[in-house]
């Protein structure tokens, strides 16, 4: 089995979530070293040299992002851990927080040192109630042990850490919407620039990183950037916790070196589709990544650069597999409905575009569309991309656009053959979800 467990090392131990359990595996050793022996600049350099790329979706260099914050005192700086994992297909942060909360807290404390932030927040989605309870308990333990709070380990450095529970909105995973939500508002994205590194939470410079990104920090500081780059590929160093779900026999989180063949992830680790079935298509990086057909994607290395070269993206590292029984037009509709529901409604192309895409795809699966409607669907997607404050609309436009393009024959076939029965089932089968935003 080609799993390489670094972040999930010892995760099978139920004691790991306690401070005692974590310290048994040398937990908080990196924090002690960073706070006692290293300067902020040295930590920052180590992070930059490691080439660690953000694990939340964009894949931007974590060290570089931290270096964008202005240096020096005279202002309050903040660190936000984005634990609002809500992208369909992604469930890795849930696992990391549930099994090893102290690893994240240690990473936050070290990153806060590098960014010179005095206040840190974990913005966790409200649905993750169990995980938030676990984090609350772990944060209390860390305060008690002197790893958080005033004068950490006698170094005259302070860090306050608050676990902030969201209340159910995918958009709050977008970093500027997260800031608005954290400031107590509706989660609407902000216009950029200014970027959060310059003007973020409460107007102060703010570093925002995903859970998995921050969880990587302690080991990079403990073992060095060179050790980290010995895993993965040149452009995608390290390991990645990959969530594999959908039509596979063993769905779950698997930690692998970046760059392993995608086929190994889907077949060897997750067990592949049921016997006699084939991978028809998959989302390589969550529901917002353009789908790849089995043929074009299975033999690609699973890395940021190879997924980008194939016209898709690694995103949050979440693979959703569709086997040959799955109807792509129905999958497109399910995808579009999600983004329609979650659109905050601020920008017209996203608010209206997601709405019309859902309506048109409903017509497709009811058999009421014409092939020309597929061109309109495609053009609506093109008109969303790049035209909004954030990428929520793009996140629907990219996969839906790719599905229409790559499976156009199937769409046309569905339009031609959708019978009376299908018409009723398609509309009633997809239930209304709670409190549609638009």
């Amino acid at each position: 089995m080609p799993e390489t467990r670094i972040l999930l090392k010892h995760a099978e131990d139920p004691e790991l979530r306690t401070l005692t359990g974590y310290k048994r595996y040398n937990g908080y050793g990196a924090l002690e070293r960073a706070y006692r022996e290293l300067e902020a600049e040295e930590v920052l350099k180590e992070l930059e040299d490691s080439g660690l790329r953000g694990r939340g979706g964009a894949g931007f260099s974590m060290g570089k992002k931290a270096s964008f914050l202005p240096r020096g005192g005279g202002m309050n700086k903040y660190l936000c851990c984005n634990a609002d994992e809500s992208e369909p297909g992604a469930f890795k942060d849930r696992e990391l927080m549930q099994r090893n909360p102290h690893q994240l807290i240690e990473g936050i404390a070290i990153a806060a040192l590098a960014a010179d932030a005095g206040h840190a927040f974990i913005f966790i989605r409200g649905e993750y109630d169990l995980q938030a309870d676990i984090l609350d308990a772990a944060v209390a333990e860390a305060y008690e042990a002197g790893y958080l709070g005033q004068n950490i380990l006698g170094t005259h450095r302070d860090l306050e850490l608050v676990v902030h529970r969201g209340a159910g909105a995918y958009i709050c995973g977008e970093e500027t919407a997260l800031l608005d939500a954290l400031e107590g508002k509706r989660g609407n994205p902000r216009l950029k620039p200014p970027f959060p590194a310059v003007q973020g939470l409460y107007g102060g410079p703010t570093l925002i990183n995903n859970v998995e990104t921050l969880a990587n920090v302690p080991r990079i500081v403990a073992h060095g950037a060179e050790w980290f780059t010995s895993f993965g590929t040149e452009q995608s160093p390290g390991t990645k916790v990959v969530s594999v779900s959908g039509c596979v026999q063993r769905p779950g989180n698997y930690e692998v070196e970046l760059g392993i063949p995608t086929r190994e992830l889907i077949y060897d680790l997750a067990g592949g589709p049921a016997d006699g079935r084939e991978v028809k298509a998959f989302y390589p990086g969550g529901s917002s990544s353009p789908v790849l057909t089995g043929e074009e994607g299975l033999d690609l290395p699973y890395s940021f650069e190879d997924m980008a070269a194939a016209g898709s993206m690694l995103g949050s590292g979440s693979i959703i597999v569709a086997d040959d029984r799955v109807s792509i037009p129905h999958m497109a509709l399910r995808t579009a409905r999600f983004y329609h529901h979650e659109s905050c409604g601020k920008c017209t192309p996203c608010r209206e575009g997601t709405n019309w895409t859902v309506k048109m795809l409903e017509r497709v699966v009811r058999g009421e569309a014409t092939p020309m409607d597929l061109d309109i669907v495609a053009s609506v997607q093109e008109n969303i991309i790049g035209h909004c404050l954030c990428v929520l609309g793009d996140s629907m436009a990219m996969p839906v656009g790719a599905m229409v393009r790559k499976f156009r024959e199937e769409f046309e076939e569905v339009i031609a053959t959708a019978g009376e029965e299908n018409r009723i089932a398609a509309v009633q089968g997809a239930p209304e979800t709670l409190g549609a935003a638009t």
């Binding site: 309050n76 649905e127 169990l130 779900s245 979800t433």
Partner: protein, 198 residues
């Protein structure tokens, strides 16, 4: 110029029929002391008290079962914001209810991975099992971040899966009887995927 009659079209129907609600005074709203204390403690955690609006609404919902207009007013009085402000926040988020809901909440994921594995059928089964019982709020929900246990449901804020449609009735019975719900299907008890039946 001042002699000219004012065109009634400019004003008629444009005068608001009531003054917008201001920040309520604490003594007007009858806020229970424990709610006041809780919200004050929450406000103390943040550099800006307004950051406590979502946690304060959670506190209101925990106390009253949903974000009641009275509860929102009470929180607004403690936080020194208008009730309209908190209402605008509450109505944005799926987990904050601005209408009455039952004391038990079942959210069934119907997103891509769960849909592929029978999420819609599971939602139907939960609806049928609850049978219009007003105390049990059953709803479809967007991705809950547990595609590994698809199809799954969040029952009173804990995750369970993978569920057979037939297990919905058992879960509802257990909820009504006040028993532990489907203990063997709790997410918390699952091993890592790579460690299961290796």
């Amino acid at each position: 110029m001042s002699d000219l009659p004012l065109d009634p079209a400019l004003t008629e129907g444009r005068v608001p029929d009531r003054v917008p609600e201001g920040v309520p005074e604490l003594h007007e709203v009858g806020c229970p002391p424990e709610l006041k204390e809780r919200i004050e403690e929450l406000m103390g955690r943040y550099p800006d008290r307004k950051s406590a609006s979502i946690p304060a609404l959670w506190a209101v919902q925990r106390l009253y079962g949903w974000c009641t207009p009275e509860g929102i007013k009470q929180a607004a009085a403690v936080m020194r914001v208008t009730p309209a402000y908190l209402e605008s926040v509450a109505s944005f988020y799926d987990l904050l209810h601005t209408e009455p809901v039952g004391s038990h909440k079942v959210a069934v994921c119907t997103n891509i991975s769960c849909w592929m594995r029978g999420g819609d059928e599971l939602l139907d089964a939960f609806r049928a099992a609850a049978g219009g019982d007003e105390d049990i709020f059953v709803t479809g929900f967007e991705c809950l971040g547990a595609c590994d246990i698809a199809p799954m449901a969040s029952i009173d804020e804990r995750y369970f899966g993978p569920l057979e449609a037939a297990e919905a009735a058992t879960a509802i019975e257990q909820l009504r009887a006040g028993e532990d719900v489907l203990p063997e299907k709790a997410l918390e008890k699952r091993p890592l995927a790579g460690d299961a039946d290796a």
